[in-house]
């Protein structure tokens, strides 16, 4: 009951801030940018002056699946930044402004407070990403050729898991500091470090959450979920649970003011 109250309040807040409008729009933009620019690259080159006479520059049309993956990698860079931006103040900001003082002095369960906020952000972000990826799939289908919708959907599903992981890191960081800017910095730093470490020791860290993205192309082509992807997903889920648990415990231990 209490959980639902907080969840509804978070969703209402997102609605009043027009987050339900601009976050999906931003993700649609991110997702359709690459399919469109890739397809229209020759025309774009032409209109900006074209190539010198005699120069031949053959631009191969990339496979449809690759173009869809471009959208995901776009989310992986810009999208993650947007996610960190919209989640950075969810608890930290309330504590900083002092609203948390009024809320948490009521008999509110810390578990409900953290998980409801988490769930509300997961709902908003996942929905936006799915809308964005469906838009991407539509343009890829239209301009480049066939990509199985089912495969694209399961790719998006596994990618969603990674996104939930990002949101969980941000939520966790929210309980550690009262400064939203610092939450943003810490979240982005951790993801960057994780990416770096994973790409350097990729043969050792098959289970790393950031590796999920690297397994997606084969999933998209074949529709088969490899063992590594299962492993990474499982590890990601465990990490998400641990992050949430850590966030709740930290908030309990911390002084609200």
């Amino acid at each position: 009951m209490q959980w639902l109250t907080i969840y509804k309040k978070e969703c209402l807040e997102s609605a009043r801030n027009y987050k339900w409008v601009w976050v999906p729009l931003v993700f649609i933009l991110f997702c359709i940018m690459d399919p469109l620019t890739t397809y229209y690259l020759p025309q774009i080159l032409e209109s900006t002056g074209g190539l010198p006479d005699g120069a031949t520059f053959d631009i191969p049309t990339p496979p449809a699946a690759n173009v869809f993956m471009m959208s995901i990698s776009q989310i992986n860079t810009l999208g993650v930044l947007v996610i960190a931006l919209i989640t950075m103040g969810t608890i930290a900001g309330e504590r900083k402004s002092g609203v948390a003082e009024l809320i948490l002095v009521k008999p509110v369960s810390y578990t409900a407070y953290v998980t409801a906020k988490w769930a509300a952000h997961v709902t908003l972000v996942l929905l936006s990403i799915f809308v964005g990826l469906i838009a991407s799939w539509y343009y890829v289908q239209l301009l480049f050729g066939d990509v199985s919708f089912i495969h694209a959907l399961s790719t998006a599903g596994f990618y969603g898991l990674y996104i939930i992981f990002v949101i969980s890191i941000s939520l966790f960081m929210n309980t550690w500091t009262k400064t939203p800017g610092l939450v943003l910095f810490l979240t982005i730093s951790i993801i960057m470090i994780l990416n770096l470490v994973t790409s350097v020791f990729s043969h050792l860290l098959e289970w790393s959450p950031t590796n999920i993205t690297s397994y997606l192309p084969s999933l998209l082509r074949t529709g088969e979920v490899g063992q590594d992807l299962w492993l990474a997903s499982l590890f990601t889920i465990v990490t998400i649970v641990l992050l949430l648990f850590g966030a709740i415990q930290t908030l309990k231990r911390k002084e609200i003011v």
């Binding site: 907080i6 309040k9 002092g98 009024l102």
Partner: protein, 306 residues
Amino acid sequence: MIQLKNLTKTFDKQYAVKNITFNLPSGKCVALLGPNGAGKTTTLKMIAGLMHPTSGQVELANGVKGDIRKYIGYLPQHPQFHSWMTGMEFLHYVARLSHIPKHESQKLAEQLLDRVGIADAKNRKISKYSGGMKQRLGIAQAMIHKPSVLLLDEPVSALDPIGRRDVLNLMEELKQETTLLYSTHILGDAEEASDEILLMHKGAIVESGSLQDVKERHQVDKITLRFDGNMKAYKEKMEEFPFVTHTDIQKQKIHVYVQNVPEARDVLLELVSKEQWPLLFFEVGQTTLEDLFMKVVNEHAMADHL
């Protein structure tokens, strides 16, 4: 109702609250009095569970330990709200968080908004509220779950005279329903609404008891005089009498604290006329709570310098 046992809070090895022990009696209205920085807010926040004591504990008299938030209503000094909500929405939200069923919380929110006098603004965004309205909304949200103890941190200090009067009247009403503990640095407010006072200074309780008792205990007869010109010389002369306990100069007046009023009056008046001091003002009276306040604060300030 609520017992504080050896409650202590330190910030960077500095005592904010130092070994406080007191019992908040049920159904009473207690004022936590003290100058700024005395530790009033810290004490209230520890009772509310927003701060964790460095040592000592807060206990509810009915034996409930652990999460006592259900029994406590709290109004911070500067209440902050979700400013994108309307007053009504916020109260409803807070009521739902306090496990009040939906239909009931709606009704309760309406009633409370009416009671604190902001029913007209219930559908306005909180960001458009004035300071006084926010304070009233703050009181409403603190009361919504009918707590057995209501903690109000400086409930009237930031209000204009009309708002102050309204809130004091409201507190007068609330006294009948719950136990009230509120902090203030304004003596008049403490005298007006409270049954008992706790005087805090530098994190410690330096005086407590019912208002009447405290007054009587500290009531000293004093004679206030004013002279033309520099008063230092007169002050020193008067200090020599055996019935004078001490003297001080405030606002161009000499306060002479005495033990025996009739004798002191006669002797001082005689002295004045004999020496032909340029007397402008002469009054026989008793110390007020404000004098006590100043005395306590000064005594402790003196002790710090020694």
